[in-house]
């Protein structure tokens, strides 16, 4: 009985890793499509989000089944509750990567990111990819060493988010209404992506230490 249960827990962990890997692929694709006006890549990210959604639904059902059938306590219970929450965050990260790709698709053949903000979105894309990379690593290894760097990249994303508004609302902004709308939405998507990355890192911390709180640097 215990053996089957442990195999089930292991399978949950494997699926969560797979979700984190797909999220990393999604945000990498979405960021690159935004920089290079790559329509095919944008469409790929949009299509691939279904796989992340399907994994979340499946994980969700299996967690509830495990809670019902196995009556887990202590660490086992903590694992299952954490998987439930992390998969919800990863699913949202996938949605946000898809939304970024949708901006590129709509703008094609023009760039999705306004030219005045090209560097900013390049930085946001890089920070978001680092967040996704670290999230994948800590979901896989449960090594919290890199968790602090997720919080720092989230802070950077917040700063860049604010700088977008400074640019858009400044005297030198030459963007059309469409560019202003896209700039606002893209910035919001990247900023939320960072928030969810921090949330996953804190859940892993809870899993490892039993304590929930800001991740140490």
């Amino acid at each position: 009985m215990r053996k089957i249960f442990e195999a089930e827990l292991q399978a949950l962990g494997d699926d969560l890793e797979q979700m984190a890997e797909l999220v990393l692929k999604a945000i990498t694709g979405a960021s690159n499509a935004l920089q290079t006006q790559d329509l095919t890549l944008a469409q790929q990210v949009i299509a691939d989000d279904q796989a992340i959604d399907a994994l979340e639904r499946d994980l969700d059902e299996r967690c509830v089944l495990l809670l019902a059938q196995q009556q887990p306590v202590a660490t086992d219970l903590r694992v299952i509750v954490s998987v439930l929450r992390m998969s919800a965050s990863l699913e949202r990260m996938g949605d946000l990567a898809r939304h970024i790709a949708e901006v590129s698709r709509r703008a094609f053949p023009n760039p999705g990111s306004p030219s005045q903000l090209r560097d900013t979105y390049e930085q946001m894309g890089e920070a978001a990819q680092r967040v996704a990379q670290r999230v994948y690593e800590i979901v896989t290894s449960h090594d919290l060493e890199e968790a602090g760097s997720i919080e720092r990249d989230d802070d950077l994303l917040d700063e860049l988010h604010n700088s977008v508004f400074t640019t858009v609302l400044g005297p030198d902004w030459k963007g059309s209404a469409q560019e202003t709308v896209d700039a606002t939405l893209l910035s919001r998507y990247f900023e939320r992506f960072g928030d969810h990355g921090v949330s996953v890192a804190r859940r892993v911390q809870y899993l490892v230490t039993g304590e929930f709180g800001p991740v140490e640097a």
Copy 2:
């Protein structure tokens, strides 16, 4: 033992109702503050969001404790897992109402909603308030009769969200960049508020019927 457990479950339900009531109050205040440039009301909504966040954290901890201590099965388990998820959605709805109030606060003494979109945001505010009212009712009564109207108001919010972009990107848009940014963000906040309302309705449906899927009209 069973008696204490039932009292705990009842207390979870009471707190969830309280959260739904606070969310209704928040979106009502945020919508009104947006229409009337009422800075005091906007600040009240922003301050009150802390109470919603605190309720969520508390509910969360108690759900995990109950899972650990009581090893619930079947319906009890379904209740606890549903409460975990509904409280997360209600917490996000509170955040979105706060974000709407923050737009009003920043714009004060000017209106937070651009004049060309005043009617649209009035309609969005009304639809969002109906969503919150129905969510409160079905969380309280578990009567699914009104669940369909939440989906319809969510559809209406999606339509209004699209119409905002039609206006902002149309030839008659006279708004400044600040107004374009505010219009985009406000619209996105209302649209997401509707999504979370539908999510709560579906969780109540799962609780009542054991089936998860689109709520019948």
